[in-house]
């Protein structure tokens, strides 16, 4: 046994601020968790066709934005809350967290204008933002993401966009995992003070770009082998269910209320 191995050493690594690694890891983890919950156990319990959901969510957001009547905003809020109450607790919590954060941000941004004496914007815009974000999040939580992309085909969005969108969602998860491992490696390897933070970060992001380029080429080869021509066709025919009918009815009701209230 060499002598230096037996000697006591007390190495205390210099403390270093590496919040940027931690923050990046956390935001990536949040993102991946959000995507993963998409894949599993999503039974479209209240089965309404995704195209309808997308169309009417868009309509509701438009109506909310045009509306000058506070009653309409309250009514749509109630409607959204009812839908929200039908969802699972975890989802409700997540939706409310995201949307109230955004509404709070809006409130703070608009606070100065309230001191200017513009009490109108702060109340209506904050509640409109809250309602809009709840609506979008309900859409994103209640429909599978691949059904939302297939819904876009119904609205004649060009194939190239759907194609890119589809790949993007999948690869966010794959590349996200990849960069997460690199961040872990960076965290484990930087003992003591890391003087090359920017170099480390650009290493990760640069490697990510090269990796994504390789992945893209591999994917194209795989797709070509399976005979993909770049065109999408929707296979499942549109079947009109009772849930669809009720959904349309409710939204038609909302539209009627909107027209009625705005006339006054």
């Amino acid at each position: 046994m060499p002598e230096w191995l037996l000697k006591d050493e007390s190495y205390i690594p210099e403390s270093d601020k590496d919040t940027f690694i931690n923050k990046s890891i956390l935001s990536l983890l949040g993102l991946l968790a959000r995507i993963r919950t998409q894949g599993c156990d999503k039974t479209d319990k209240y089965f309404v066709h995704a195209a309808l959901k997308v169309a009417f969510t868009f309509l509701l957001i438009l109506l909310l934005s045009i509306s000058r009547n506070f009653t309409f905003i309250v009514i749509s809020m109630v409607y959204l809350l009812v839908i929200l109450s039908l969802m699972r607790g975890k989802e409700i919590l997540h939706i409310l967290k995201v949307s109230s954060a955004m509404a709070l941000f809006t409130f703070i941004v608009l606070l100065p204008s309230a001191f200017w004496g513009n009490g109108y914007s702060i109340v209506t815009i904050t509640s409109k933002v809250l309602a809009t974000i709840i609506a979008v999040n309900i859409l994103s939580h209640s429909a599978k993401w691949n059904s939302i992309t297939s819904a876009l085909k119904v609205f004649h969005v060009p194939d190239i966009f759907i194609f890119v969108l589809d790949i993007t969602i999948k690869y966010i998860a794959m590349l996200g995992e990849f960069s997460l491992y690199m961040l872990y490696a960076l965290k484990l390897r930087s003992v003591g003070k890391n003087h090359n933070k920017y170099a480390a970060l650009s290493g990760i992001a640069g490697t990510l770009f090269i990796k994504s380029k390789e992945m893209a080429e591999e994917m194209h080869a795989a797709m070509e082998c399976r005979g993909f021509t770049g065109e999408y066709s929707v296979h499942n025919r549109f079947k009109f269910t009772a849930a669809d009918f009720i959904y349309i009815l409710i939204n038609a009701g909302l539209l009627t209320i909107f027209v009625y209230l705005e006339r006054i």
Binding site: K17, T19, F20, K23, S24, S27, L28, R34, I61, L62, I66, S99, M102, L110, P112, F115, W116, G117, N118, G119, Y120, S121, I125, K128, V129, T132, I133, V136, L139, S140, I148, P158, I160, F161, V164, L165, D166, I167, T168, I169, Y171, I172, L175, G176, S179, A199, L201, S202, I204, G206, L208, F209, I210, S212, M215, A216, E217, M219, A221, M223
Partner: protein, 333 residues
């Protein structure tokens, strides 16, 4: 810079969205021409790359962190048209699936971040790169391109916010959407971008392009040589837009000038619910002490941001030339 819904009027969103349609069409056409079939999946993977870029926190001096948009970076790596599509898709996913950025405001967000940002950033980069045939010229191009790209995009967002109270008010004269005029929205948007976000963007873009050039030099997009026409077209467009900004700010100026007379009357009624008080109460000096100088008209905020911008640029150039003097002994740029 993601504009949520209800800050912009649906009419504004429709106009800007309509302006984006030919850009998208051109981008799709150009990408189909330019990028060989086997590279097509790169657009999607590029979009996920750009989405993830916004998740990366860049360390800033002083222990804080910030994240970059990476529009100029994508344009340099993949070409501006591919960057336009990639950023558009990343924004669509954020709006539709994550509730980040508005659905109606999608067109406006795309205009700022998928059109102005990559095209302007790339235009400046290419202009510098073609003029100055050296490593230094290219890096100057990257720095200027990414810095101006993100700042002009922020300015565009500020103008979109700022014209809302001029165009859309209800019968009582209260703004229906974003209530801040140009004199507030421009400094509020541009000062943080000039000081923080722009610098993050520059650090991010320069270090990553440097890394990729070192590790895998063949992968960077090589655009056509004659971009002069494009950059002059861009400049021309900007010059055409300038009077629009002045016109809009001029109206704001006049409006506020009239208000100042009323301010004396209504200044003492806090949160008065009469339309007069709502319209003319003015005390943002108390609320935003950072941006305002008490007793000066709001136009001061406007001028202040311009002065700040110029000062920051001068400081940056002085630092750069000082650093250069230390290393090479001569000043360039």
């Amino acid at each position: 810079m993601h504009i949520p819904d209800n800050y912009l009027s649906p009419a504004t969103c429709a106009v800007i969205g309509a302006a984006m349609v030919p850009v998208w069409a051109a981008a799709v056409k150009k990408v189909k021409e330019e990028i060989p079939r086997e590279k097509m999946p790169l657009l999607g993977v590029g979009a996920s790359f750009s989405f993830l870029m916004m998740m990366f926190n860049v360390p800033l001096p002083g222990g804080t962190t910030g994240h970059a948009v990476g529009g100029t970076l994508l344009a340099i790596l993949m070409g501006p048209y591919a960057a336009c599509i990639s950023v558009t898709v990343a924004l669509l996913i954020q709006a539709l699936l994550f509730g980040d950025g508005g659905i109606l405001a999608f067109g406006a967000n795309c205009f700022n971040m998928a059109f102005i940002l990559p095209f302007l950033g790339y235009g400046i980069y290419k202009f510098m790169k073609d003029r100055v045939q050296s490593e230094r010229g290219e890096y100057t191009g990257i720095v200027l391109g990414s810095y101006f790209g993100i700042n002009i995009a922020a300015l565009a967002a500020a103008i979109e916010f700022g014209i809302q109270p001029l165009l859309f008010t209800n019968a009582a004269g209260q703004p229906l959407y974003c209530p801040y005029p140009l004199s507030v929205s421009i400094p509020a948007m541009t000062i943080p971008h000039l000081l923080v976000a722009g610098i993050v963007e520059v650090i991010f873009t320069v270090t990553i392009v440097g890394f990729i050039k070192k590790v895998s030099p063949g992968t960077i997009y090589q655009g056509a040589k004659q971009k002069t026409k494009a950059i002059y077209g861009l400049l021309l467009a900007l010059i055409c837009l300038t009077p629009l900004g002045l016109l809009a700010s001029g109206t704001a100026w006049g409006e506020w000038g009239a208000d100042e007379i009323h301010e004396v009357v209504s200044g003492s009624t806090p949160l008065g619910y009469t339309p007069e008080g709502m319209r003319h109460g003015f005390s943002f000096g108390a609320v935003m002490p950072d941006y305002s100088i008490n007793g000066l008209p709001e136009a001061a905020g406007y001028i202040l941001s311009a002065v700040a911008g110029v000062a920051i640029m001068i400081i940056l150039f002085k630092i750069i030339s000082a650093l250069k003097k230390n290393t090479s002994g001569k000043i360039t740029g």
